[in-house]
Symmetry: C2
Subunit: 145 residues, 2 copies
DNA sequence: GTGGCAGTTGACGTAAACGTCATCAGTCGC
DNA sequence: GCGACTGATGACGTTTACGTCAACTGCCAC
């Protein structure tokens, strides 16, 4: 019985550029430096939906994509609920006209909030620049004496 | 007894451009749309240090500044611990040479993390742009039929 | 067939950032 | 002098985002 549904081992070989590679939970965990617990938690929250082989989860490329979106959202300081909202924005398919219009306004809100964040970052970077200047000056004076 | 230490009322008059205006907790709360509880909590965490008149807190301009820094940090998704770290960066005065050098590296770390966030935002904005395009296209097709 | 893993589920624990009382103190207008 | 506010101070509750067991399962090597 030559089973075509490989899950690990040979599949993790770097030479196999097979279509639809699959990954175990530990693979994802290592790849993104999070714990399996976290991944399961995200699934619980409906943010990931890996396939199953029996009870075991099998992940594919789309799970990677999702996970990267989630982690990016987290780096931006969004709650998981917000991250989910953002990810949901990507599912354009779900639409009658009313839905689509509503989606547009959601997108706009998100954009506005992101632009505010950009501004906050710029301001903070500017502040830091000023602080650094003062620090360097203090250092210089301290060394000259 | 004409008490010069006004705390509220006349002091909140828009005409008095007195030096060192003072504010009550509710003033701050309203100004930044947070609750008094939150302000007290921040004080508990050593992030604010208002003066006291008896038991009552009296806030001044520097508390405003602090609070704005805190809230900006929060908008950027930092934990209060991180916010405190950032704010502490601003206190250049506390330095022997070693401290100052260490401060510089802290500043640099912070800058790197902020730049990563910038990139994340750019990427997300780009994604949203793509999504919007698809939504508009879907809308158009839906209306033409 | 028996360790030894990797993984699963379920339950409980925890840190952060406040919210929500309950109780008490100070002050102001009348 | 007395409500009506505004504020202070605990103390406990709540939500989020996982961590940490404990008990079980499937599979693989020997």
């Amino acid at each position: 019985m030559n089973n075509p549904e490989k899950v690990s081992k040979e599949n993790s070989s770097p030479t196999t550029e097979s279509p639809a590679r699959s990954y175990r939970i530990a693979d994802l965990a290592k790849a993104y430096d999070i714990t399996p617990r976290t991944i399961r938690f995200y699934e619980d929250q409906g943010m990931l939906a890996p396939l199953r082989k029996g009870r075991q989860r099998i992940f594919h490329e789309r799970d990677h994509v999702r996970l990267r979106l989630i982690l990016r959202g987290k780096r931006l300081g969004f709650s998981l609920a917000e991250v989910r909202e953002i990810i949901d924005l990507y599912d354009v398919d779900a639409g009658g006209e009313k839905q689509l219009v509503h989606l547009l306004s959601k997108i706009d809100q998100r954009r506005i909030s992101l632009e505010q964040q950009m501004k906050d970052i710029q301001d903070t970077l500017n502040d830091l620049k000023g602080v650094e200047k003062r620090v360097r000056k203090a250092l210089k004076e301290l060394r000259e004496k």
